[in-house]
């Protein structure tokens, strides 16, 4: 901006100076015509010899000089008493003929002082510059902000948009063609993404449903086969292994179904659940498994923890966390569950190194080579926690810690 204005100032300055010279010169020529006119009525002015007094002077010249005289304009400095300095003056010299005598006529006029001109030019340009900047700022802040409001409104919504939340985006109305275009494009994009997201969720649920019946038929056929056919030990064991793996498939399928049901918001009813008693109940279910692995489950409750949640989901969440601790925990160790008024945590000893927090809650990311786990238990716990704004975090401090932090009301 500044260089532009500076260049502009130079151009403007010279253009103006040029214009001023032009106008001065015109004035001088005009004055010459007036003087020639005046000569007819006041012939004595031809005697004017003092330039300072009359602003013009007649100097007699010979005929030859008159013939070859070239009119010219020039600048000169003349001392001015009133201002006590040399002033720039413009002189117009021309030759005239009067009563058969030849004269050189010099007419002077005071000229614009260049330094004054430059000074005021700079002042005014600076003024212009400041005003320009101010108006740009004001325009930007008031007008443009208002103009771009629909845009920023849209951006703010897009930044917080989560496809799984299913909250629609309100597109701001605008008369501006470009924003209308943007709105339409965003709208189409969102609709397409939401549609394919729900189609994908629906697909998982439907696929899991459709798998149930063939699984059931296969499992039941094998069970009936076991009962109907006399088999030797090896055959029994093979069928048993097939059944075990079908069981795994069934559990996997059920877990997938559960996950999509949680995500499809199919658990609506909530009630206040006392987590202390719920934890005791869950632990009781796993007592035999714990005994089998020679592990001990203990609860350290310092406060009552009550939270509004769907009962089934609360059970599933705690069950998955306890199960995870038992399945991956080291034998002959103690699993400690700590309950505080807004916190529930479970600590177990297992593989002696930190697990990757990012992979831990991802579907089918197994951190161990345990072939019997579905790789979905922690994802399910996480999905339930997220649904109720509970934070589920993992930490490692010699032992593995899974911590639920409940939102305070």
């Amino acid at each position: 901006m500044l260089p532009l204005i500076t260049v502009w100032a130079f151009v403007f300055y010279y253009a103006m100076l040029n214009e001023i010279y032009d106008s001065l010169d015109d004035g001088l020529e005009n004055q010459k015509d007036i003087l020639i006119g005046r000569l007819k009525t006041e012939p004595n002015i031809i005697e004017h010899r003092n330039v300072k007094k009359n602003n013009h002077v007649f100097t007699p010249i010979n005929k030859k000089k008159h013939k070859h005289f070239k009119e010219n304009f020039r600048d000169t400095l003349i001392y001015v008493q009133s201002e006590d300095e040399l002033e720039a003056m413009r002189i117009y010299s021309s030759a005239i003929k009067h009563n058969n005598a030849y004269y050189k006529l010099d007419i002077i006029t005071s000229m614009v002082e260049e330094d004054d001109l430059i000074e005021s030019l700079i002042t005014y340009l600076l003024g212009l510059y400041v005003i320009l900047i101010l108006s740009i700022l004001i325009l930007n802040n008031l007008l443009l902000k208002r103009l771009w409001k629909p845009f920023y409104h849209l951006i703010a919504q897009l930044q917080t948009f989560k496809i799984e939340d299913n909250t629609p985006i309100t597109l701001p109305k605008s008369n501006i063609e470009e924003f209308k275009l943007l709105n339409t494009a965003v709208n189409t994009l969102l609709q397409k993404s939401t549609h394919s997201y729900s189609a994908q969720k629906q697909f998982i649920e439907n696929a899991a449903h459709e798998l149930q019946t063939p699984l059931a038929i296969t499992i039941n056929k094998l069970e009936l086969f076991l009962e109907n056919t006399p088999l030797n030990d090896k055959q029994l064991k093979d069928i048993g292994t097939a059944l075990d793996n079908l069981g795994r498939l069934t559990r996997l399928n059920k877990s997938l179904l559960l996950l999509s049901k949680i995500e499809n918001q199919q658990f609506v009813n909530v009630e206040t659940i006392p987590f202390n008693t719920l934890t005791e109940k869950v632990i009781a279910d796993f007592e035999d498994l714990a005994n089998h692995k020679n592990m001990r489950l203990q609860i350290k409750a310092s406060n009552d923890l009550n939270f509004k949640i769907n009962q089934d989901l609360a059970v599933i969440m705690l069950t998955n966390l306890v199960k995870n601790a038992l399945v991956h925990g080291k034998r002959n160790n103690t699993i400690t569950i700590t309950i505080q008024s807004h916190m529930w945590s479970i600590i177990n000893y297992g593989t002696p190194h930190q697990l990757d927090q990012n992979l831990l809650f991802t579907r089918f990311k197994k951190t161990t080579t345990n072939t019997k786990s579905t790789g979905l238990g922690l994802s399910i716990a996480k999905a339930i926690a997220t649904k109720y704004a509970i934070e589920l975090n993992y930490d490692y401090n010699d032992a593995h810690i899974f911590k639920l932090t409940f939102p305070k009301k």
Partner: protein, 223 residues
């Protein structure tokens, strides 16, 4: 004992029929809503196994029809769609039980038996097998008229094996029945062994006992 199976998957239906016929029930079956509706209207059954996802109608409508006709059949809903809403609606409409697919054959029989027993279609109040006598109402057991004390899990295991005395019960069927659905992701079902071991000790003087079938499960051993 007459049982009606309404199930559109033919192989599923065959499995259920085979299982129940082995227990000496008279089984009738249909794969269609309309035929089921006709049968329900004309005949009466002791227990109906009802798949609610039929191609030509919703099984829940059959439940409503039964209720409207004032019939007193025991109904077990069998569904591939393990949905809470269906379960609640079915039970509200008067179904006795809800069994999500896939299920074990032993579990199916146990549920049928339980429904029949609850409705007192089964006659006797006590179950006598060998020198063991069980009263399901107060969950008490005697061996040679002498009371023995079983914990909840031991009792459930024994009852499940007695109910399915003619069949081989797989470890997972037993675990899911006794320990509940949530145990299902445990890394192995070996943990049920300790309860079985205790149960065997307590059945020392009984003419029945628990026999392990290598690698598969357990069955009731009757002398």
């Amino acid at each position: 004992m007459k049982i009606l199976i309404i199930e559109d998957e033919r192989e599923m239906l065959n499995n259920m029929r085979e299982t129940l016929e082995r227990e000496k029930y008279i089984v009738e079956a249909t794969t269609h809503f309309k035929e089921a509706s006709l049968k329900i209207g004309v005949y009466s059954y002791d227990c109906i196994l009802l798949d609610i996802g039929l191609p030509d109608g919703n099984g829940l409508e059959l439940l409503k029809q039964l209720k409207a006709q004032g019939k007193n059949e025991g109904v077990i809903i069998v569904s591939a769609k393990d949905s809470l809403d269906d379960r609640l609606e079915g039970l509200n409409l008067g179904a006795d039980d809800y069994l999500p697919k896939p299920f074990h054959m032993a579990e199916l029989h146990a549920r049928v038996k339980a429904v029949l027993r609850r409705r007192n279609f089964d006659g006797n109040k006590t179950i006598d097998i060998g020198n063991v006598s069980i009263n399901p109402e107060n969950r008490s057991i005697t061996i040679n008229q002498k009371d023995i004390v079983l914990n909840r899990k031991e009792y459930d295991i024994l009852m499940y094996l007695i109910t399915n005395k003619t069949r081989l019960v797989t470890k997972s069927a037993l675990a899911e029945h006794v320990w509940g659905d949530y145990i299902d992701q445990a890394d192995s079902f070996d943990f049920i062994y300790s309860q079985i071991k205790n149960l065997r000790k307590k059945l020392n003087h009984a003419t029945i006992n628990v026999e392990a079938v290598y690698g598969v499960g357990y069955k009731l051993d009757i002398e």
